[in-house]
């Protein structure tokens, strides 16, 4: 029992140290938040899949705030490229409007400009 308590304490100490400091290690790594329009969990998957292009470390889209949090390597990509990739899949992303044809192909529950609401 004693060993397991020690192990527990040790693990706890390791994991309690802030890991977010990783992001600041290099100035090439940028964190930005952009607005992306969408409705539901199906949109979330589509948006995030589109955001994960080469150089993107992390993409988290929040359905409620309509915000996409991005972490990327600025040597390998830039915000505009990421936004274009999302817009090509039919979602307004930051300054770039969605590809109109792709928007029309979205499932009806993802049609954010036409009052779709879904509780996925």
């Amino acid at each position: 029992m004693r060993q397991s308590i020690i192990a527990l304490t040790a693990l706890f100490t390791i994991y309690s140290t802030p890991i977010s400091s990783f992001a600041q290690e290099s100035s090439k790594i940028k964190s930005e938040t952009i607005k992306v329009k969408g409705v539901c969990s199906m949109c979330k998957k589509r948006i995030e899949d589109a955001a994960y292009i080469k150089g993107v470390k992390r993409a988290d889209w929040d359905q409620k705030t309509q915000e996409l949090k991005l972490v990327y390597n600025s040597d390998k990509t830039d915000l505009k490229t990421i936004e274009q990739s999302i817009a090509r899949k039919g979602h307004d992303a930051g300054a770039i409007l969605a590809d109109k044809d792709q928007y029309k192909k979205l499932p009806s529950c993802c049609a954010y400009n036409d009052g779709a609401e879904c509780a996925h």
Binding site: L8, L11, I19, F22, R58, K64, E117
Partner: protein, 768 residues
């Protein structure tokens, strides 16, 4: 967590709220570094009055408050918070921007128009759920098993759906019936409380068979918690609680039609159909059907016995939901089950006389009817206040034939539970109180010996929940019950949670649990042997049928656990370790150590279970999830022959699961497990002499894999999988299989897989 919340969820929580459906994320509170205080008033835009009970929260949902009777509120939010969201049932949700330095705000709430009825429903529910969450969420460690996890084991019923859950061990009950049983903390499934949407489901005579009667296709999600649960759900549940949420017809994500087909190479065919219909925003219904047929004679280990009985199983259910305008919620359902199987020696035919020289046969028939209802009321002007009544009735009949031995049982049960929930001053203090009644009438016959028992247990309970700044939670509950056979008893339970840092939660629990063991049905597997059934050392036939021969089982359970979430290399992960100790004050000991006997008696000495479980979940690269787990048990019981390890339970088990999803919706899933050695009960030769040198089973590996492909955003899905890839089976599975009517026949000592490699394929259609 950022999604609209199904109405039923409110219902379930409003009524009982014991299994908190918190994802791990809620369970870990955030640190409050720099906080600012925002005060203000909320008014009705038309009537200009202050509004009580309006929910205020930050966009990330981490900080909540409710307005008081004058419409005033004070909320602590992290400095820099840019928005606050105000919601109230029947009103439009308002989002208010905060600029730097804002301390006092006024908010006018607009009543929602009728045409926005659908949105209204969503808003109402969102606010309701949060208030409930504040009080209870996270105080208990809950593993939420969502539909994604359930899909990893595309087959088929509740017992099989735990194959990818390291907290639960799944094993065959015996070598002939095909039933699988589960264990938590190394204790049999009967020590775990099974609830369907918080109403007790699998109890009594169905403790083993019942798991087969919840098809996976009906299930939306499951919540699993170890240790004693909330007193609201009763005094049972020594090892833990498993709550199952079915598909709800009124949820937007519920398909109109859900059709599933399955076929395995071991001759098992299944079909499932779920039909959901919403008549209007008030009324909805589901029809759920399941059919299973095992039509092939399968004997992969060539012992002359079918590995799995042949036969059919049908499950059908119909559910109704009604949501009124003023917080009234009513739901009800019925479920019917019919099962008819035949197994045993491959050449056995139904009704063959069971005498030496004829083939040994196994037969099983089950008929079960369940009905249940929930009536709930939330007070629209006081969303923190609710009350509910749960009602359930069950009739269960089963006939079993194990060679010359027959076991028949009939159970009639009725359950009622009334729960009232409110707050004291503010939502930091929540109280629940209520009363319950459980009635069970059992009539069993074991090869001519009748056993009869009626249990009536009325009880009252109270539970207080306290939270301090998302850092500390406490739930303290007490119930008093009166049992017609065993008298009055108290059930105290306490749960604590402390979050010392961001993404860290430490939880502790302690509680008492009591139950009446259905020692025959819970040990049905042992009937597949030549062992004589003994009660306190005397043959069961000497039993007086009017008295239950044992004391109730009483145990104390204590638990301590740590959950740590982390982000490493931009990917999320979590680590958890838990320790549980169960100490039996009394237990019905199942003693298989004597020659050709199984003896049941009250515990005389110690019986305990120590369980340590460590688990790491991490997304190694995007869409590649890895789960590693290890658990260790130390379970010992005082037998007449001494303190011994619990037989047929692996003390050590290691588990690894890798899941990968591609962007074009292929899913790959692979599970490998190592199951450690298990103690085998004392073995004897034909001359009743101990056989030495084979006290432990060998350890072994089990591997499963599955490939899924979904089309059209999940509308169609096909899967192909393989179980027991290594084709590892226990040899011999049955002791003295060639002489089933002799004194050494034993098909109940199962420590390994009774079935070999299995390949299966299936499809799912989700039609809107």
């Amino acid at each position: 967590m950022h999604k609209a919340i199904p109405l039923s969820f409110v219902f379930a929580l409003g009524l009982s709220g014991t299994v908190s459906q918190a994802s791990a994320q809620d369970a870990v509170a955030d640190t409050i570094v720099a906080m600012q205080t925002v005060t203000g008033h909320v008014f009705d835009a038309q009537q200009k009055d202050g509004m009580v009970g309006v929910t205020i929260h930050t966009p990330d949902n981490r900080h909540h408050q409710v307005t008081d009777e004058n419409g005033a509120f004070t909320i602590q939010v992290p400095a820099g918070t840019s928005q606050l969201i105000f919601s109230f049932m029947g009103y439009r949700t308002e989002t208010v921007s905060l600029t730097a330095g804002t301390t006092a705000i006024e908010v006018k709430m607009q009543e929602a128009g009728l045409k926005e009825g659908k949105e209204l429903g969503t808003v109402e529910v969102t606010s309701r759920r949060k208030t409930t969450e504040i009080g209870l969420s996270g105080t208990m460690k809950v593993e939420k098993i969502g539909s994604g996890e359930l899909m990893k084991a595309a087959c088929c019923n509740l017992s099989e759906s735990f194959e990818t859950t390291p907290s639960v061990d799944v094993g065959f009950t015996d070598a002939v019936s095909g039933y699988k049983q589960i264990q938590m903390l190394g204790l049999a499934g009967a020590y775990t409380t099974f609830t369907r949407e918080n109403i007790p489901d699998i109890r009594g005579l169905a403790s083993i068979t019942g798991l087969s009667f919840t098809p996976g296709t009906f299930v939306e999600s499951m919540q699993l918690s170890k240790g004693t649960g909330s007193v609201v759900n009763g005094y049972e549940g020594t090892a833990g609680q498993i709550n199952v949420e079915w598909i709800k017809p009124f949820e937007d994500k519920a398909p109109k039609w859900l059709i599933n087909g399955y076929q395995s190479t071991q001759g098992r065919s299944e079909g499932n159909l779920v039909y959901n219909h919403n008549f209007n925003k008030h009324l909805s219904t589901s029809v759920l059907l399941h059919g299973r047929s095992d039509w092939m004679k399968v004997d992969m280990n060539n012992d002359g016995f079918l590995d799995n009985p042949r036969g059919n199983n049908f499950v059908g259910s119909n559910r109704w939901f009604y949501f009124g305008d003023r917080g009234l919620e009513i739901q009800g359902g019925i479920k019917v089950v019919n099962l008819n199987t035949i197994g045993g020696q491959t050449n056995y035919a139904e009704g063959t006389p069971q005498v030496a020289g004829n083939p040994w046969g196994y037969e099983n028939k089950v008929n079960r009817l369940e009905g249940w209802a929930k009536i709930g009321k939330v007070f629209p002007e006081k969303p923190y206040k609710s009350m509910g009544l749960q009602l359930a009735a069950t009739i269960h009949e089963q006939d079993n034939q194990y060679g010359a031995r027959s076991y028949n049982g009939r159970q009639q049960s009725f359950y009622a539970n009334y729960i009232y929930q409110t707050i004291i001053n503010n939502t930091n203090h929540t109280v629940k109180g209520g009363a319950s009644a459980q009635y069970d009438a059992y009539q069993e016959t074991f090869t001519g010996t009748p056993l009869k028992r009626t249990e009536v247990v009325p009880g009252v309970f109270a539970e207080y929940a306290y939270k301090y700044l998302n850092k500390f939670n406490m739930v303290a509950g007490l119930r008093a019950d009166y049992h017609n056979l065993f008298g009055a008893f108290l059930t105290p339970r306490l749960h604590l949670r402390y979050a010392p840092a961001e993404n860290t939660a430490i939880r502790a629990s302690v509680g008492r649990a009591q139950r009446t063991a259905n020692f025959l049905t819970e040990n049905m597997g042992l009937m597949a042997s030549s062992r004589a059934f003994m009660i306190n050392g005397n043959d069961i036939s000497t039993l007086n049928n009017n008295t239950y021969p044992f004391k109730p089982e009483v145990a104390w359970n204590m638990g301590l656990n740590l959950t740590q979430k982390f982000r490493l290399n931009y990917r999320d992960g979590s680590f958890g370790v838990d320790y549980y100790f169960t100490d039996f004050t009394n237990q019905i000991v199942v003693d298989m150590e004597e020659y050709n006997k199984v003896n049941f008696y009250n515990l005389n000495g110690k019986s305990y279970s120590h369980s340590i479980h460590a688990q790491l979940d991490y997304e190694l690269i995007r869409n590649l999830d890895v789960r590693l787990a290890y658990r260790f048990y130390d379970i010992k019981t005082q037998y007449n022959s001494g303190l011994k390890e619990k037989p047929l339970v692996a003390a050590k088990r290691a588990f690894a699961n890798i899941g990968y999803r591609t962007r074009n919706d292929w899913k790959f899933d692979y599970t490998v497990q190592w199951i450690g050695t298990k103690r085998v009960p004392q073995r004897y030769n034909d001359h009743e002499q101990h056989v030495h040198g084979s006290d432990y089973s060998p350890s072994y590996w089990m591997m499963n894999a599955q490939i899924n492909k979904s089309f059209k955003e999940g509308k169609y899905e096909v899967y192909l999988g393989m179980e027991n890839i290594g084709n590892i089976m226990q040899h011999p599975l049955i002791t003295d299989a060639s002489n089933p009517f002799g004194n050494n026949f034993d098909a109940s000592l199962v420590w390994g897989s009774g079935m070999g490699r299995n390949i299966y394929a299936g499809f799912r259609l989700n039609l809107k």
